[in-house]
């Protein structure tokens, strides 16, 4: 059981944990030297880390509402930063981001800017004020600020739509990794992933999730950075890749010039397995229009500031001041991974396409490439493919195809790193996907148990009963997510981006104006949430069914349309109806001042 002094001992506890994990990596590499098989190493990595998370989840069990919902509001800034970073960086960030940069270059990097810039909005517009408010959930703020059950309910609806879209992708990712590492079919692996996720959150709620997320951050950041530094050093590209890859970036541009981007015919492309792509876009050149870049970045930034699973992490800090600082730490820890992804993409691409490097395959004969061990492995895993389209027997740039995930998963092997690194990467990807899934499932279950069940249906329910309801919902939502994940409707990244658009359509302006515009009232908030979500979703459906769209707003940025409708609806309706009562206006005044009691009591 975690005692009060656990908080004071945090640096020591996680220091020992980090040392223990590094020791485990060393033991595994010795075991590899002694002949342990690749498969056993993979199983050890995933099983060992998941077991640790489960133990932390068990030790964090609680029967108190404020520990279950907001970790007792005593998480120190730096640790909350790590937990938020793990909460934030999903399986997609970990496994797919470097691949996206690899294939799409500049146009994709709008996501890097968007997924970091959003934190400036979180820190300045929302987090400190919502912390002062003292709410348990995001709909708790909406419901109290605007009043009425309908506002609370609509906020829960938007939250559920956005978070559920997101969580299926995360459970899918845990399933993919578990199925590869443990060598079991995907349909079962999804549920193995789900059980691991629930082990972290079920007993301890937010408290359990917080301390497992810190542990998961440590695993995922080691698993991402170690290979990047190692590969860079091995290739002789520089001992600190972030500052030293300018020559490599320039070399890729030179090779792109030399090879040229040859377009493949439709018949040829039909032979390429589904999900694989070739290199068709420049690596470092600007290849998107300003609006395409900016609109995507803007949608991701506003979405970041509206996603409840991120916002609720700042409800756990001891003070308003700490909430602000904690946002800074969150972004710092995110920055460590995000700034490394482009470096990994650069190293990965150069090692494959530069004919002067021993790992380069472009320009070699097709037969030679097909005989390489790692090519055969990844071809079998359906992540790599070559074909001699022009029949000259030599592999050209346009004849090489790879899956996005392969950049993270396969590069260590291609660069000749020991298998222990691949096991480590699997554990990191699992940690990234699990931590995000936990945050999301908890956000949905908490909103329904606290806002719908306790605040609307049965306000007299006792704490014990509330927490039973919360836990049952956690399991139900988890299973629903896993069942949909098993159907694989949209790729990992597509549904992640949709979640941001849904969240910004329905929640961005109701949240921001709740603090910054005293005149905003209940009717306005209802109109803003309902019309925002409906118009955003409508636009998505329209574009998905062949609609042409307008103003360059695509299915990835539909939130820009949804949130614009939300803003207009909210302002117009608020001004047409009467202003909020004096009591509500006084409440807004109090939220704006950091000192003094929170608006909602400690137990509510």
């Amino acid at each position: 059981m975690i005692k009060g002094n656990f908080i004071d001992n945090l640096p020591k506890v996680y220091g020992i944990y980090t040392g223990g994990f590094l020791g485990f990596i060393i033991i595994m590499s010795i075991a590899e030297q002694m002949g342990m098989t690749a498969k056993t190493i993979g199983i050890c990595f995933v099983a060992f880390t998941v077991a640790i998370y489960a133990i932390i989840g068990y030790l964090s069990r609680t029967a108190q509402a404020d520990a279950y919902y907001v970790a007792g509001r005593q998480v120190p800034t730096v640790f909350n930063g790590m937990a938020t970073a793990a909460d934030w960086m999903s399986g997609a960030s970990f496994v797919a981001m470097a691949g996206g940069i690899y294939f799409k270059g500049y146009g994709y990097m709008a996501l890097l800017v968007g997924w970091t810039g959003g934190y400036v909005l979180v820190a300045s517009l929302l987090a400190p004020y919502l912390r002062k408010f003292g709410c348990y959930t995001v709909p708790d703020f909406i419901g109290t600020r605007y009043g009425g059950n309908l506002t609370r309910f609509l906020a829960v609806v938007v939250l559920t739509v956005a978070s559920f879209t997101y969580v299926t992708a995360q459970i899918n990712a845990t399933g993919t990794i578990a199925s590869v590492a443990l060598d079991i079919p995907f349909q079962y692996a999804v549920y193995v992933g789900l059980v691991s996720i629930l082990l972290c959150s079920m007993l301890g709620g937010m408290r359990g999730v917080t301390w497992t997320q810190v542990a998961q951050y440590i695993v995922l950041i080691i698993a991402y950075l170690l290979p990047v530094f190692w590969i860079s050093n091995r290739m002789g590209a520089g001992f600190f890749p972030h500052f030293m890859l300018a020559d490599e970036v320039a070399r890729i541009a030179e090779l792109e010039q030399q090879f040229g981007f040859v377009a493949n015919s439709k018949e040829n492309l039909a032979m390429v397995p589904k999900g694989l792509a070739g290199i068709t876009k420049a690596h470092s050149a600007v290849n998107a229009t300003p609006w395409a870049f900016i609109s995507l970045a803007l949608a991701m930034m506003m979405g970041t500031a509206s996603l409840p699973h991120v916002m609720m992490r700042y409800f756990t800090t001891p003070s308003v001041k700490a909430a602000r600082k904690s946002v800074g730490w969150s972004l710092f820890f995110i920055f460590l991974l995000y700034s490394s992804a482009p470096m990994l993409a650069t190293l990965s691409k150069l090692s494959l396409i530069d004919p002067t490097l021993s790992t380069g395959i472009i320009g070699k004969s097709i037969a030679e490439v097909q005989a390489i061990d790692w090519y055969q492995n990844w071809n079998q895993a359906n992540l790599m493919f070559v074909s001699d389209f022009n029949g000259n027997g030599t592999l050209e740039l346009n004849e090489f195809f790879m899956g996005g995930k392969a950049v993270v998963l396969a590069t260590p092997e291609i660069a000749g790193l020991p298998y222990v690194i691949s096991g480590l990467v699997a554990a990191g990807g699992m940690a990234a996907a699990m931590s995000t899934a936990d945050g999301l499932i908890l956000a949905i279950a908490n909103a329904i148990s606290h806002d719908v069940y306790y605040k609307i249906i049965d306000p007299k329910a006792e704490t014990a009963k509330r927490l039973v309801v919360a836990r049952v919902l956690l399991v139900v939502i988890g299973f629903a997510g896993a069942t949909i994940a098993a159907m694989e409707i949209q790729g990992i990244l597509g549904s992640v981006i949709w979640a941001f658009d849904f969240a910004m359509s329905g929640l961005f302006f109701p949240l921001v104006l709740g603090v910054w515009w005293k005149r905003a009232n209940r009717e306005g908030a209802i109109a803003g949430m309902a019309l925002g979500l409906i118009s955003g979703a409508g636009y998505l459906i329209w574009v998905r069914n062949g609609g042409s769209g307008f103003l360059g707003i695509t299915q990835l940025t539909f939130g820009i349309f949804g949130s614009a409708v939300s803003l207009i609806a909210m302002v117009v309706v608020s001004l047409m109806t009467s202003e909020p009562s004096a009591a509500v206006q006084k409440m807004v005044d109090e939220v704006r001042v950091p000192s003094g009691k929170s608006i909602l009591g400690k137990q509510h």
Binding site: S284, A288, P290, I294, P318, S319, K325
Partner: protein
């Protein structure tokens, strides 16, 4: 003007300044992405490329800490800072 109103006015001023800096590095510079990429940026990377993979991201981190410190000063000035730990 009451103490609270003055506090809020300063807070709003800080917000506008923070959002202005945020706007420049998240949106403003990318209006000129193609032109800027011709310039060599820090560590020898093309400038726009550098901003997308390190520059803007790092500036956001610094901006948030700067904002948090300024806001704390404003809160102290009006006696609204919280007592106790953080």
């Amino acid at each position: 003007m009451s103490k609270q109103a003055q506090h809020w006015e300063k807070t709003r001023g800080l917000l506008i300044m923070t959002l202005a800096i945020w706007f420049v590095f998240s949106i403003g510079i990318f209006l000129f992405g193609a032109e800027m990429n011709e310039v060599t940026g820090p560590f020898g990377y093309p400038l726009t490329y550098w901003f997308t993979c390190q520059g803007s991201l790092g500036i956001f981190v610094i901006l948030i800490f700067w904002f948090a410190n300024r806001q704390e000063k404003i809160d102290e000035e009006f006696g609204f800072s919280e007592r106790g730990d953080d």
